[in-house]
């Protein structure tokens, strides 16, 4: 299992694959790994991303305009695996995976060297077949825990997750926020009771201060929209822009930890 967080907080970096091209996505992912990312979430663009804010919606539209599909995303994963030991997670809505075929997807992902998957609109209750297929191919299913999840749901999410558990910092869609909600800390505390797995906090982490803050109560931070925004704003220099941004996060975090 290549999901391992070297430092605290660990860094999970999300990119929407195919935005603007699969080649650029691969270069951005490599740059993110060099800047300290422990896990790369390879986002599969979807036409109807109900859980995502405007930044990732736009990235998905750009990626779909030139036909990015799951096969292309798995190809990026394969190339990354040849060059890196970082954790690789496929991040998708259910329908693209369903149409590809659950078992076929798991087989292809394992073949490509992927470590796990997170399916945004697949809650644990509906995941029986998915879990069987993931297990058969030794892949880690990562589930989301939300501030609105009651104890029983947190227990189920923790029980079925492998690799790490993704704690959503607040109710809402993906996207950068000024402040992390107080929800995040209490969710991690509630979740901790049910699992020894690393807990990664996502949704809204975009500044060095927030990154360091997450390190105070969770194992890792997920950075998504802030990365995708830099890709959008720096055409032709995506990898360099993401690298600079992520270095500023991880550098600050180490400093903050050092001081405490």
């Amino acid at each position: 299992m290549a999901i391992h967080f070297k430092q605290r907080p660990g860094l999970v970096a999300y990119i929407t694959c195919g935005d603007p091209t699969l080649d650029v996505s691969r270069e951005v992912a490599l740059a993110a790994i060099r800047a300290g990312a422990d896990v790369i979430e390879l986002g599969v663009p979807f036409s109807d991303p109900v859980a995502d804010g405007p930044v990732i919606q736009r990235a998905s539209e750009r990626a779909l305009q030139h036909g990015t599909n799951l096969i292309g995303v798995l190809e990026v994963a394969k190339q990354l695996r040849q060059q890196s030991n970082a954790g690789l997670i496929i991040f998708s809505y259910l329908n693209p995976i369903l149409q590809f075929g659950l078992d076929k997807f798991c087989a292809a992902a394992a073949e490509a060297g992927v470590d796990g998957a997170l399916v945004t609109d697949l809650p644990v209750e509906e995941a029986a077949e998915y879990l069987r297929a993931m297990k058969a191919h030794k892949l880690a299913p990562v589930f989301l825990a939300a501030p609105t999840s009651p104890e029983k749901r947190l227990r189920d999410v923790a029980k079925h997750s492998r690799g790490f558990v993704y704690a959503i910092s607040r109710t809402g869609i993906t996207g950068a926020r000024q402040e992390l909600a107080g929800d995040a800390r209490s969710l991690v505390e509630r979740l901790r009771v049910h699992t020894k797995l690393p807990i990664a906090v996502g949704f809204g982490v975009s500044t060095p201060e927030q990154f360091a803050e997450v390190g105070g109560f969770a194992d890792a931070a997920v950075v998504g929209s802030a990365i995708v925004q830099r890709i959008e704003q720096n055409p032709g220099q995506e990898a360099a822009a993401v690298s600079e941004f992520l270095s500023s996060l991880t550098g600050t975090a180490q400093e903050a930890v050092g001081k405490s």
Binding site: F46, D48, V50, P96, L98, G101, L102, P147, S149
Partner: protein
């Protein structure tokens, strides 16, 4: 509103998902119709859906809730609606006797008010005072705005900007009723995109907000609950036709977008195996993907916006764009119970083109003095095709789900005198 077991049997297992768990086949406990339905939403919404499911399960057994629901259906919405024998149309077509179920006569002009009253009562029980909704044609938006005004609730309606253009009268009606209409500019700027945006709002404000979904779509419990609130259509129609004719109809015809008016009028007849149930999808302006909204003619099983059903999509699972002259049918997925009825062969689904619907609209206006909504005109179009081939002893019920006032702008653009 009692649960029935008619959706209890298993249908073909989805090869991708594998065979559904045994317990899923027993009853629609978790909102399954065969293998269709379910609850495919982000984790943040799961607790709210469970809360809604529980609240609804309690409410439907509560006599006070049912009494209040039926009182408002009668006194506020104007139920029962008549079952009207369309004599001139019958005579002209020369076949089956045609009855029109007049949902167009309801307050706000369409069947949608039934469900809105039910869900608003439920939201009030749950202590949620902010209501959000999506709308396509604007009929559900207007009905939602109306019940929110009635109950003194804050209301936000999401509507694609393309639909706002097509249905500007309804946009204004919602504003008059004190509702905030938020235009949605993503995707095809129609119903699907309005639902996406409403779901994003709900994910964000789930603790204080009830999402008043307008069709038999989305995650459990919506398809079951919305169907239950519309069952009254078929209950009335069945009684009315028995009273008028002393026997059941040969066929019941309804248009199908998400499928709420259709399931409402079909449901009471499902057990009457001799009654053919015919759903009419939007055939749009052509057969290729993107030109129509006929999910059973080019779609396949998939997950969209919380439910597993027939979806118009490409091979990679990306949801297709759709087209229909009627905004209310312009949607790439169909309610999961219709998917099940389709696979079981209990209901049949056909389509009517934009032009056929426009022609049918004009014909009903001229023959019977009723201008139907363009959605309902699709059902009329199928009746016009089918009735002449039927025997004079046959009876057909067509659900006129809404009235056509909202479509005057589109009719003006498309009908030449």
């Amino acid at each position: 509103m009692e649960e029935t077991t008619s959706n209890a049997q298993n249908s073909e297992a989805n090869p991708a998902l594998g065979k559904p768990d045994k317990q899923l086949r027993v009853r629609a406990v978790r909102g399954r119709f065969g293998s269709y339905g379910g609850r495919y939403v982000p984790e943040t919404l799961m607790a709210a859906l469970q809360e809604l499911e529980t609240a609804y399960a309690v409410a439907r057994k509560d006599k006070a809730f049912r009494d209040e629901f039926h009182r408002l259906l009668a006194d506020f919405a104007g139920r029962p609606t008549p079952l009207f024998l369309a004599e001139r149309l019958t005579q002209q077509l020369g076949g089956a006797r045609i009855y029109l179920k007049r949902e167009d006569l309801l307050h706000t002009g369409a069947h949608k008010i039934n469900n809105c009253i039910g869900q608003a009562l439920l939201a009030r029980r749950m202590g949620k005072h902010r209501i959000i909704a999506e709308t396509g044609a604007g009929q559900h938006g207007v009905a939602t705005a109306t019940v929110c005004a009635l109950f003194g609730m804050e209301c936000v309606v999401y509507m694609g900007t393309e639909d706002m253009r097509r249905q500007e009268l309804n946009v204004f009606r919602m504003k008059l009723l004190g509702t905030e209409v938020r235009g949605v500019d993503s995707g095809s700027r129609t119903l699907k995109d309005a639902i996406n945006e409403a779901m994003r709002d709900w994910v964000t404000n789930v603790r204080t907000t009830h999402y008043l979904l307008g069709s038999v779509l989305g995650a459990h419990p919506y398809p079951t609950m919305v169907r239950d609130f519309h069952r009254v259509i078929g209950q009335e129609a069945r009684k009315q036709v028995l009273k008028a004719e002393g026997r059941l109809p040969s066929a019941v015809i309804a248009c199908v977008g998400g499928g709420s008016n259709a399931i409402g009028v079909f449901y009471e007849f499902i057990k009457d195996r001799e009654v053919r149930l015919i759903g009419v999808e939007a055939g749009g302006r052509g057969h290729s993907l993107g030109e129509h909204a006929a999910r059973f003619d080019g779609g396949g099983p998939g997950v969209l916006q919380g439910t597993y059903s027939y979806v118009l999509q490409d091979l990679a699972g990306q949801i297709a764009l759709t087209h229909s002259v009627s905004a209310g049918l312009d949607y790439p997925a169909i309610g999961p119970e219709h998917a099940w009825l389709h696979d079981q062969g209990r209901a049949e689904y056909v389509s009517a083109s934009d032009q056929e619907a426009l022609d049918a609209c004009l014909r009903l206006a001229r023959m019977e003095g009723i201008i139907p909504a363009l959605e309902s005109a699709h059902a009329i179009a199928e009746c016009i095709k089918r009735a002449p081939k039927m025997d004079k002893s046959d009876i057909v019920i067509v659900n006129v789900s809404g009235r056509g006032d909202k479509d005057i702008g589109i009719l003006r653009e498309n009908v030449a005198f």
